[in-house]
């Protein structure tokens, strides 16, 4: 497929491209937000520094994807990030889920096992997606995928290290990790999904088909599970719905009202 520029796009291509970009931007945006809630609350100070660095990168990636949407005439990046309603968001539901009970300023009972598993599994999928996007028919997206990939190397190393270490620690850690794996698998189908326009996306050479990307994920993850003598679950669920279709939970509504609180004081003002 030859590379396509913005002026030659037909309507079907453009809507598939736009939908894909919303998925990529919204996934990173909401997960970086969840990461920013962890700030100052990580298990130790070194991790706080590392995790907040990763969240920053992730927010930066969201910003780059929103910029591509702005370039396509979807609106200004800050409006796209802060003012779209939950039903218009395309992030996977797994990524919007709260870090745990409590509030990020008051009695947070955040679950580190869930943080590790959710981030690790997601980043691995993101890496596979970026590898595929490096060959995307939409050149500006291919360029960004190359840059994003450089940082994902470190993110993956980080979360894999935590995953393997906590899985092997036994006792309480293992129990918590097993529970987190089950929770994440229950909704991981939503992360793997490319939504209703998947056919058009792969047909126009924007990204490889969902099934192929999913197989690649399994191919990379199985040896990690094998190395710690655990059999990998195979149920990729969408227990809480499909975010790619605009289905979302209350967790997203609450998050959106917090993250846009100051923006909504006056969206027209310069901040």
């Amino acid at each position: 497929m030859s590379k396509i520029d913005i002026h030659q796009m037909d309507a079907a291509f453009k809507s598939a491209l736009t939908d894909l970009l919303y998925q990529l931007a919204d996934d990173d945006f909401i997960l970086a937000y969840r990461g920013s809630e962890w700030l100052g609350l990580a298990p130790h100070i070194e991790e706080d520094v590392a995790f907040s660095s990763i969240s920053q990168d992730t927010m930066g990636h969201a910003s780059m994807f929103y910029q591509l949407l702005e370039d396509l005439g979807e609106g200004k990046v800050d409006d796209l990030a802060h003012s779209r309603k939950a039903k218009d968001r395309r992030n996977a539901i797994l990524l919007e889920m709260v870090n745990g009970p409590g509030h990020y300023l008051k009695k947070p009972q955040y679950d580190w096992a869930f943080a590790v598993v959710r981030n690790y599994f997601y980043v691995q999928m993101k890496k596979i997606r970026m590898d595929s996007l490096k060959n995307s028919s939409y050149e500006p997206l291919a360029q960004i995928a190359i840059n994003v990939n450089l940082e994902l190397y470190y993110h993956l190393l980080h979360w894999r290290t935590w995953f393997v270490q906590l899985m092997q620690a036994g006792d309480e850690a293992r129990k918590r990790m097993d529970a987190a794996i089950n929770r994440v698998f229950d909704d991981f189908g939503g992360v793997l999904s490319l939504g209703p326009l998947e056919d058009e996306m792969s047909k126009s050479g924007l990204i490889e088909p969902e099934e192929i990307l999913k197989k690649k994920w399994i191919l990379v993850m199985e040896p990690v599970f094998d190395s710690i003598n655990v059999s990998m679950p195979t149920n990729f669920g969408m227990k809480n719905g499909n975010g790619r279709k605009g289905e979302h939970t209350e967790d997203l509504d609450t998050a959106l009202s917090i993250l846009s609180e100051v923006y909504h004081v006056n969206p027209a003002a310069a901040w």
């Binding site: 809630e37 100070i45 990046v77 947070p108 270490q165």
Partner: protein, 319 residues
């Protein structure tokens, strides 16, 4: 190293004289060098308080990290608060090395924080109820921090001086980050302008307190004489406060903002700023963890420390 070996053969008094000679000549003391007990104790207290203040200092700004009003501001404040945690880590490592011969660890630092034995900086006990406060912390609190830390850049204790060098370089970015938020607000709508003026009014007393009382007569104790004697710092608290006024009062006024102290002026004859003293008894209460947000922030840190105990246990097992 040769000096350390040489030192073994000397009496304590000779070691002390040698130590004083070294710091007088501008030599740096390293973690494994001989040092007087009160030098070590002063450093441990100073550096662990500094380190834990960086970490507790992340909490008032933390509130505003998810809420920052644009992607650019979100990225900026995320980076800024991450730096603060990084400074905390850097400083706690320096303190840990000093505590090692006494058999104390980071766990002691955390427990001392929770029990109230280890204090954290007065500014981080205060409320930060608006985005204006987030900007002001970066601008004036970090601005004050640059002034007080620059004063110790040539500290006789090498590891601290080197950590401060890195920290100060980053604090400059923080002050610019804060100033950029403040300028946007000061030049924005009347509501935004009010946001920043309210923040200045709210923070003014805490900023005066930032540098500590002028001398021990105000609060009963002051470490400044010891730290000056041991060449950890050069200027007094009052000199630093005056430097802060000289640098920031014109900047506040140039943005069309006001200082909430009508008596504030520069006395040409005395060559110093005249201002209304803060309530130093309140200062004592604040650093005793009786400030407006002391309990809440300690509770937040303590809750999460306990929530994550299982992770640290798991890591210790893996060692």
């Amino acid at each position: 190293m040769s000096k350390a070996i040489f030192n073994e053969k000397l009496t304590n008094e000779e070691k002390y004289d040698h130590f004083i000679k070294r710091i007088t000549e501008g030599e740096k003391i390293e973690a494994d060098d001989w040092m007087p007990d009160d030098y070590r104790e002063t450093l441990i207290k100073l550096i662990s308080m500094h380190g834990i203040s960086e970490i507790m200092g992340a909490l008032p700004e933390k509130e505003w990290v998810p809420k920052a009003p644009s992607l650019r501001r979100k990225l900026g404040i995320m980076a800024k608060v991450q730096d603060e945690m990084g400074h905390g880590q850097l400083l706690l490592r320096v303190a840990e090395d000093l505590m090692k011969p006494l058999g104390r660890t980071r766990e002691n630092i955390m427990q001392d924080l929770f029990s109230g034995r280890l204090k954290f900086h007065n500014v981080f006990h205060m409320e930060a109820p608006t985005w204006g406060d987030a900007g002001l912390i970066g601008w004036l609190v970090d601005g004050a921090a640059i002034i007080s830390q620059t004063n110790m850049l040539d500290a006789s204790y090498g590891p601290y001086a080197r950590a401060l060098k890195r920290i100060c370089a980053e604090e400059v970015f923080h002050a610019q980050h804060g100033e950029s938020i403040i300028i946007a607000l000061a030049e924005g709508t009347s509501e935004q302008r009010k946001m920043v003026q309210d923040a200045i009014n709210r923070w003014w007393e805490a900023l005066l307190m930032f540098f500590g009382p002028a001398d021990a007569t105000t609060t009963g104790t002051s470490k400044q004489d010891t730290t000056i004697k041991y060449r950890i710092r050069t200027k007094t608290n009052e000199e630093l406060r005056q430097d802060f006024f000289t640098k920031y009062i014109p900047r506040v006024l140039s943005l069309g903002l006001t200082i909430p102290d009508e008596t504030m002026h520069f006395n040409q004859e005395k060559q110093q700023w005249i201002y209304e003293q803060p309530d130093w008894s309140r200062f004592k209460e604040i650093i005793r963890n009786n400030g407006p947000k002391s309990r809440e922030r300690l509770e937040l840190r303590e809750t999460t420390y306990h929530e994550n105990q299982w992770v640290r246990n798991a890591l210790n097992m893996a060692k």
